[in-house]
């Protein structure tokens, strides 16, 4: 296999996260009880044998860098290769949802010059999937294409996801917004490194645009192909996506395809005590992370690390993030409760299937557990 370096882009956002991503990037959204979204892209790279990964940071990078540290959880604290923090441009300040801004790459062109790798595998940081990139890399090297894009038939419409048009196996166009049944671009692609460097020079005047928008008029002149991924995949752009995708983890078939021993999704290690389900508790169909102390009722929900559910509290169809405390008698339904919140006794928080209630981080501060 020819040498491949990775690039993960995280300098983007949307207006549909109901301020959950105000203080953090989508890439560092907590997910599935103990993960953050970027864990998937990072782990997929490592599991596919890529050991040099550049990370284009979002404008608000504190929580992301806090999570990633030196990259040791993904074994990226190494001499050869490793993790490269590539500061993103200020374009990420606005909720610009373009994932592959040329300026973000140009600003960090050193990363692409200081390597002999033949290819760059680029992916965004809000994709929930367990993908082995090796067949993609093989397909790309065998075909000799300029770019190979990862695609899948869209299961639902999404304005943020790009639609790919293909004729005779060649990509002829890419445009924003995909309808159900059309070919969707999964925001992952592989490109010859030299070609990517050339792009940075050729298209420098359009550098504020997404690579795939810049190429709009040039598709027919280039050899761009697709590689279909047929596994489970979701991209998170909105609270709705976020809530639904979390809830899908309660389906153990989906859960098992995402989290398996052969291709583990790695995350920052935190030494948490095990979860304790006390005699008065009732827990059904839920993910409960370590450090949780549960005395109340929890159903169809996801509890992140260190959540306390007091006796008599009822949690249904909800996501409760790290270190939140739900006092006795409180009721939480169809809600996303961000970190460090205290839901007082007998408080009732109810969203609905259509309209998920969102409580931002530390709205009512939970006292730190002793």
């Amino acid at each position: 296999m020819k040498e491949v370096i990775g690039l993960i882009t995280a300098n983007y956002g949307t207006n549909d996260m109901q301020r959950l991503s105000d203080e953090r990037s989508i890439a560092s959204m907590p997910f599935g009880g103990r993960y953050r979204l970027i864990d998937f892209s990072l782990s997929n790279m490592i599991n596919s044998g890529i050991t040099a990964v550049g990370l284009i940071t979002p404008y608000k990078f504190r929580s992301l860098l806090d999570h990633i540290g030196t990259g040791s959880a993904w074994m990226l604290d190494r001499k050869k290769g490793g993790l490269y923090i590539l500061p993103g441009t200020t374009y990420g300040m606005s909720d610009k949802s373009d994932r592959f801004l040329l300026c973000d790459m140009r600003q960090n062109d050193v990363y692409f010059h200081r390597t002999n790798a033949e290819y760059v595998l680029v992916t965004s940081a809000n994709i929930v999937c367990n993908m082995d990139y090796t067949p993609l890399i093989e397909a790309h090297t065998e075909s000799g294409a300029d770019i190979t894009m990862v695609t899948k038939i869209a299961e639902r419409s999404n304005k943020y996801i790009k639609k790919v048009s293909v004729e005779d196996g060649r990509v002829t166009g890419v445009k924003a917004g995909v309808e159900r049944g059309e070919l969707a671009f999964l925001d992952s692609f592989i490109i010859r490194r030299e070609l990517l460097i050339q792009f940075m020079e050729w298209y420098s005047v359009k550098e504020y645009m997404d690579i795939f928008d810049i190429l709009r008029k040039d598709y027919k002149r280039m050899d761009i192909r697709t590689w279909n991924f047929d596994g489970y995949v979701r991209e998170i752009f909105s609270v709705r996506d976020y809530y639904n995708t979390n809830m899908e983890l309660l389906d153990m078939d989906i859960n098992g395809t995402l989290f398996n021993e052969q291709m583990p999704i790695r995350t920052k290690v935190q030494d948490c005590v095990p979860a304790h389900v006390y005699p008065e508790a009732k827990v059904k169909n839920s993910l409960i992370s370590s450090g949780c102390l549960i005395r109340g009722e929890v159903e169809n929900s996801i509890l992140f690390r260190g959540v306390t559910i007091e006796k008599g509290a009822v949690i249904r169809d909800s996501i409760i993030m790290q270190s939140s405390v739900i006092k006795s008698g409180a009721i939480v339904k169809n809600a996303v409760i961000d970190r460090n919140n205290l839901i007082g006794s007998d408080m009732v928080i109810k969203g609905s299937d259509e309209d998920i209630y969102v409580m931002l981080k530390e709205q009512r501060k939970a006292k730190k557990m002793g």
């Binding site: 103990r34 304790h276 006390y278 005699p279 059904k284 169909n285 839920s286 993910l287 370590s290």
Partner: protein, 383 residues
Amino acid sequence: MGRRKKCIAMLLAGGQGSRLGALTKDIAKPAVSFGGKYRIIDFSLSNCANSGIDTVGVLTQYRPFELNSYVGDGEAWDFSSVDGGVYILPPYETQTGGKWYKGTADAIYRNLDFLRKFNADYVLILSGDHLYRMNYNDMLKNHIKKGAVATISVMEVLWEEASRFGILSTDEEGRVTKFAEKPKKPESNLASMGIYIFNTDVLIDKLIEDADDEESSHDFGKNIIPKLLKENEYVNAYRFDGFWKDVGTIESYYETNMQLLKEKPEFSMIDEKFPIMSNSNIYPVQYIGNTATLENCIINNGCKVYGRIRNSIIGNGCVIKEGAYIEDSLILPDTVIEEDVKIVRSIIGEHTLVRQGARIGLREGEITVIGNNETIKKGSVKP
């Protein structure tokens, strides 16, 4: 090499723990699982890390593979340090042949190179098979304040149990006047916890003398400490009054695990200021299924629970299938309990498979123990 260190630790982790039977058939006692995610050695390693000791020699001997791979370079306990860290010290060959470690003192004696290399002022000798939280720094301060050459950590034990321990008598200052290893008629109930601090120069001298003594069994409790007392050296007793347990038997191992399920455990894992760290594999989040019923359980990372569990601890990565019933039991990591299995008052080892419909354990009498890497046949009965 960087700054001279004040204190390094030598952790004796070579013991078999033969009274733990099936649990230590293929692993050393310090590597035995605790609380479903920890291993016994986590406690002494975490104590070192939480006490600011950054250099630890881990002396291994019995079945070291699991232990060595678990401890690794000590990164999981924050021992990555420029000029310190964790060093695994197994017995080795020399030009005149190799030998196993003959006793606790011999194990340290054979690693004098290590002590000399770091040349710290003090050496802390620990056992890797005890459960407790202790700030060794407080003990070291006490040692320095008293001007002793050796300090032994002691605690009061029940009089009826005193004859199982090394028992010390002290004067008012806490200076040890007498030491008796497992006395039939104990004169005091102050027991040695097997934790020692020595001035390094004194320790090196005594170990060399001891190595030349053919009568000696090369043991700290039996030989080194009595010798220091005989020579009228200042041996200090440092009193500890927290929780401390040498989980030497199946009963005490079982009880110490199960007390974690209490509303207010005597020995709790929850303490943010003094966390017990561990080197866990990567597991996804615990899943509790629709068919599961949990009544007072500790559930660790990566578990998938579909059965009914009462008053039990389920280790990392276990799968408890639908219709299984587990009561008053300890299921060690990565074990699968299949449909309609019934387990009461038992300890099930790691990586074990209990096939459909098996019956394990009795409500009374001895705790049933199934070892690591076993397969219990479909429908079989193990009282």
